[in-house]
């Protein structure tokens, strides 16, 4: 086997089976023609070093073969924007599902160590996202060039564009993620999915019996907040509908707080167990202050949202 044949053989090993022999034959023929041309110009056969120089000019066999690969990218250039958007949504969905699964896993658990649970949650989000990334990439690779983005968006109409203000800011995804995590965790805590004591010390909250009657309503508000937070993560801009939903959630929240304010000792803090335990009923004043703070924040936020609503 001479240098040219050895080179062709090496290129062949990197080629797809369907074109392997065809491309290799053509490459060998081209190399032989080039060798003949150079020999004719020099008036003598090429030396081994000159043949090797010719092959060096052609480049590494793997690179030569790469030019014949049917498609050198995993995701076609035209589908890449769709791929990136789906990847983003997928990671958000995975994070939301993992968060809910973590909360569900706490149900019935004797104790919860947040400092252990959080790294586990982050790791599981990363792990699942990597699997999702691989699957999504595989799907797009298989789709290949057979689907173009024009096919996917063929039914798109300008009327579907969201009504937003030109200079409107996007909703911070970090803030929304924080809001989502806190809301899910609070809902789990309130519904005793996770223990209501804090840390290793037996510090707990005792809710009065009246809470049971209000719990479905509180859960409804929390569920609404979670759905809205997910919607803000997926589509991080303010529309009139989102503003109305956000403002609408303040109304039941304030009503619920007003009802709680009317109760006698709705919440008691318990520290310790057995005979050594001590209890503190949270005073009406503390509850009133917390509610006033929330009401003020709700008022401030509502004014801003109404201004934004009018600007849209």
């Amino acid at each position: 086997m001479n240098w040219l044949e050895r080179y062709t053989f090496a290129v062949k090993s990197h080629l797809p089976a369907s074109v392997r022999n065809d491309v290799a034959d053509e490459l060998l023929s081209d190399l032989q023609d080039e060798r003949d041309y150079r020999e004719e110009s020099l008036g003598r056969p090429l030396t081994d070093d000159e043949l090797k120089a010719l092959l060096r000019e052609r480049g590494h066999p793997m690179l030569v073969a790469a030019d014949f690969q049917p498609r050198p990218t995993l995701v076609s250039e035209s589908l890449f924007p769709i791929y990136r958007q789906l990847l983003q949504w997928m990671v958000i969905a995975i994070a939301a599902v993992q968060l809910c699964l973590m909360v569900a896993a706490f149900a019935g658990a004797g104790e919860v160590r947040l400092w252990q649970a959080l790294p586990q949650l982050l790791w599981s989000i990363l792990e699942k996202s990597l699997y999702g990334f691989a699957w999504l990439t595989l799907i797009f690779y298989l789709l290949g060039e057979s689907v173009s983005r024009a096919d996917i968006f063929t039914r798109w109409r300008p009327e579907s564009l969201p009504k937003v203000i030109a200079e409107g800011d996007y909703i911070s995804r970090t803030a929304t993620t924080f809001e989502l995590v806190v809301t899910v965790y609070f809902a789990a805590w309130l519904n005793r999915v996770i223990p209501q004591s804090l840390g290793d010390n037996p510090i707990g909250f005792v809710f009065s019996d009246q809470w049971a009657t209000l719990l479905p309503w509180i859960n409804a508000v929390l569920l609404g907040s979670i759905v809205l937070a997910v919607s803000k993560l997926l589509f991080p801009y303010w529309t009139r509908r989102k503003i109305i939903e956000e403002l609408a959630l303040y109304i039941p929240s304030l009503i619920i707080m007003a009802v709680i304010y009317g109760w006698d000792a709705p919440l008691t803090i318990v520290i310790g167990t057995g005979e050594t335990s001590s209890q503190w009923a949270i005073s009406s004043l503390s509850i009133a202050l917390a509610m006033a703070a929330y009401a003020l924040f709700a008022l401030y936020d509502s004014v801003k949202k109404i201004q934004l609503y009018r600007a849209i």
Binding site: V19, D22, V23, D25, E26, L27, S29, D30, Q32, D33, E34, Y37, R58, G59, L63, V64, D67, F68
Partner: protein, 113 residues
């Protein structure tokens, strides 16, 4: 930076890529095998490396713009390419487009101070 040599090379390559298809279609009005086509283009002043030309020939053939057949010439197996009917129509259309683009470019250059 417009005078960045890498960027300039990329811009030149982009420009050549489209023109190369035209040049190959024009050249293959007469049948050629790969090496003879490369030599022919080179003699006309268009240097093309094999890593560009052969994959391009295959792509154009898969798009039915070219036809090819293996022949034995001078005791050597050679794949001879020729323009198909579709390829000939594409060649005429591209030529017209090229004339029109050239004219537009000349107009732009003239009207730009």
């Amino acid at each position: 930076m417009p005078d960045d040599p890498d960027r300039l090379t990329k811009l030149t390559m982009e420009l050549r890529r489209g023109l190369l298809v035209m040049a190959v279609l024009e050249a293959l009005v007469q049948p050629h095998y790969g090496y003879s086509l490369r030599r022919f283009l080179q003699e006309q002043g268009l240097e093309v490396d094999e890593g560009t030309l052969y994959p391009l020939l295959r792509r154009l053939e898969s798009q039915t713009l070219l036809e090819s057949e293996w022949q034995v010439q001078e005791g050597r197996k050679r794949r001879v390419y020729r323009l198909s009917k579709t390829g000939d129509s594409a060649r005429v259309a591209m030529n017209m487009e090229w004339q029109s683009l050239n004219k537009a470019l000349a107009n732009i250059t003239e009207t730009t101070p």
